[in-house]
């Protein structure tokens, strides 16, 4: 069916949402146009393209794009399409293209910023409107690109707020991840995991701040971790990060959940990776930050203990373990999640290794935790294809959210505020004129 703005608005109620937003391919198509065509979307990190000619391919709401370092050292984001026959100019992946892009089909070439450089055999164009200076004959740039502390975002629309305004308060999570480096910089290193989710992209976002599922969905892994700890007589960090999911409801109720404009938010940390008094790795980290920033600021940086942050449309940075789960919708029932691991430049190597361990054990396809998430997401997708009901509940603590600047804070850590907030943003984008 085709949807009017009124139809779309009617799919989102204050306390529930119609299941078709997860299952209807037409709605998915509209989302790619109206959300992914209008929001600022994370493309990649500066450190993935350090030198001129370095490129990295990725996608923005299904649009294949190239992030490339220009000869002027600036980062450009181009649609991966030759304007001649439409061929993809570079294969998926990364590399260095040299001083220019060269289409493998008819050798049209383009500067690193996409501008037309040359096409073979000038004689054939006489008397036509072929004009190398006209944008129709260059690789097209994504309308806007902005970088914040090395995190490159692109926006396919020329209209609307700038990146800082779009991110709002959630930008502090990017700051905190960078500030954890004594030189204030991070880099993507050590490979990126890629995992299929058999479900709609929104399910993943909702789950990031869904504290009610942890104890239920992850029972097999936290019970296994506890049994292991009992046998070994101690609980190393490897087990501790799984044990956390088994905290009782009372624990989750006390956590803070923040929700901001445009669907963003973050939740308070659920495990302290090590107090600076007791854990030598954290202590060494603290010392490097103290030398760089002074004691007070160093304490403030490490004291900001956030679990998942949500940058709606882009994914989820985890500041304490230096991860970024990039969430890419592929189809109405298929989502690609890429996990980037960051190194804090100048921080002790043990901090990187701790992040590496977290990536391997929590964010990899071979994790002992994520398979149960993947399973329940898939079950939501399948259950919603039945005639067993049309609406999805987001009632928990509805009506109790407290306004703060730029958003809301939940009165209870088990609130479904994050889901309600994401759908407010969804409705805004989807019904924008």
């Amino acid at each position: 069916m085709s949807y009017s703005n009124e139809d779309l608005a009617a799919l989102v109620r204050e306390d529930s949402v119609h299941k078709s937003v997860y299952t209807d391919p037409e709605i998915f198509r509209l989302e790619m146009e109206r959300i992914y065509g209008r929001a600022w979307i994370y493309v990649g990190h500066d450190s993935q393209v350090p030198n001129p000619g370095d490129y990295h391919t990725t996608s923005l709401g299904g649009q294949e794009v190239i992030m490339v370092r220009g000869s002027d050292k600036k980062v450009y984001v181009l649609y991966n399409r030759c304007p001649h026959k439409g061929a993809k100019v570079v294969a998926e992946g990364c590399g260095n293209t040299g001083k220019f892009f060269r289409c493998p089909y008819h050798a049209w070439t383009f500067k690193l910023d996409g501008q037309h450089l040359a096409a073979p055999m000038k004689n054939g164009f006489e008397g036509t409107c072929f004009d190398p200076k006209h944008p129709d004959f260059s690789m097209r740039r994504v309308a806007r690109v902005e970088s914040y502390r090395g995190f490159v975002f692109a926006n396919q629309s020329a209209e609307g707020p700038d990146l800082g305004e779009f991110l709002g308060h959630v930008i502090t999570s990017i700051d905190n991840m960078c500030d954890r480096s004594p030189v204030g910089e991070v880099e993507v290193v050590g490979g990126t995991f890629k995992v299929w989710q058999p479900s709609n992209w929104k399910v993943f976002y909702e789950n990031l701040h869904d504290t009610m599922h942890a104890n239920v969905t992850h029972e097999s892994s936290y019970v296994a971790a506890r049994e292991q700890a009992q046998d070994y007589g101690s609980m190393p960090l490897e087990l501790h990060i799984m044990d956390g999911n088994g905290e009782p409801y009372g624990f989750w109720e006390k956590l803070d959940l923040y929700a901001f404009e445009n669907g963003h938010g973050y939740m308070e940390g659920i495990f302290n990776p090590g107090a600076i008094e007791t854990d030598p790795v954290s202590k060494a980290h603290f010392e490097t930050l103290k030398d760089a920033y002074g004691e007070e600021k160093a304490l403030g940086i490490l004291g900001q203990n956030r679990h998942n942050t949500i940058i709606y449309g882009s994914g989820s940075p985890h500041t304490v373990f230096q991860q970024f789960r990039v969430i890419r919708p592929v189809a109405v029932d298929r989502t690609h999640v890429e996990i980037q691991l960051f190194r804090l430049k100048g921080a002790p190597d043990e901090i990187y290794k701790r992040g590496l361990m977290y990536a391997n054990l929590i964010n990899s396809p071979s994790s002992n935790v994520m398979p149960d998430d993947i399973e329940v997401y898939g079950r939501c997708q399948e259950g919603n294809l039945t005639r067993g009901g049309d609406w999805i509940s987001m009632h928990r603590y509805n009506g109790t959210d407290k306004p703060i600047e730029g958003g809301m804070v939940a009165t209870n850590g088990t609130s479904e505020l994050p889901m309600r907030n994401q759908f407010r943003a969804w409705k805004k984008f989807m019904t924008m004129a």
Binding site: G191, K194, S220, E227, N360, S364, S367, V376
Partner: protein, 178 residues
């Protein structure tokens, strides 16, 4: 912490070793036995194959030489192997309902020689299919076993490295041992 351990994953510096046909066949049988224990989900017996400090490694990238500077699909010591199996056996492991059925063919077994620490390096190829009632999952790759000779004449697993042909692909959940 797990990643503090100093474990030599190198398999290229090997000295030739001359095993008689009977001993070679015993090594092959050991490799097949290890595969069979996994397919038959005989977890305690499989766990018993390992040395105390043995490591199970599934690299993530083609040019990866170490599990210390790069993510791995698996880098598991005894603690984590037991953990995975405890989770597989937990009755509320939703993603193991139905359980993963698997069958693997292991072939091309070649004994490369012994590494500087005296462990026997054995290479082979495998093809397996996993099944949970929906889509079949094929896994193909090469295996490298580092075996430690035992006083009774048998072997223990010092390292098992699994090099998937599609290791850099987008994967669904990888749950059981490959």
């Amino acid at each position: 912490m797990l990643f503090d351990i100093d474990f030599d994953v190198g398999v290229d510096r090997v000295a030739p070793v001359n095993l008689n046909p009977q001993a070679s066949r015993a090594v092959e049988q050991y490799i097949y036995h290890e595969a069979r224990l996994l397919d038959e989900r005989r977890w305690p017996e499989w766990l018993d194959l390992w040395t105390e400090d043995g490591m199970y490694w599934v690299p993530h990238s083609f040019d990866q030489t170490s599990p210390y500077e790069h993510i791995s699909l698996c880098w598991e010591n005894k603690l984590l192997r037991e953990l995975r199996i405890r989770r597989l056996e937990n009755s509320r492991n939703w993603s193991q309902q139905p359980v993963t059925q698997s069958c693997r063919v292991v072939s091309n077994v070649m004994i490369d020689g012994t590494d500087p620490d005296g462990y026997l390096v054995v290479r082979s190829a495998f093809h397996s299919m996993e099944w949970r009632g929906k889509e079949p999952v094929h896994r193909v790759g090469s295996l490298i076993h580092k075996l430690q000779a035992q006083e009774d004449g048998g072997w223990k697993l010092r390292m098992k490295q699994v090099n998937l042909v599609d290791r850099d692909a987008v994967h669904g959940a990888i749950q059981v041992y490959i």
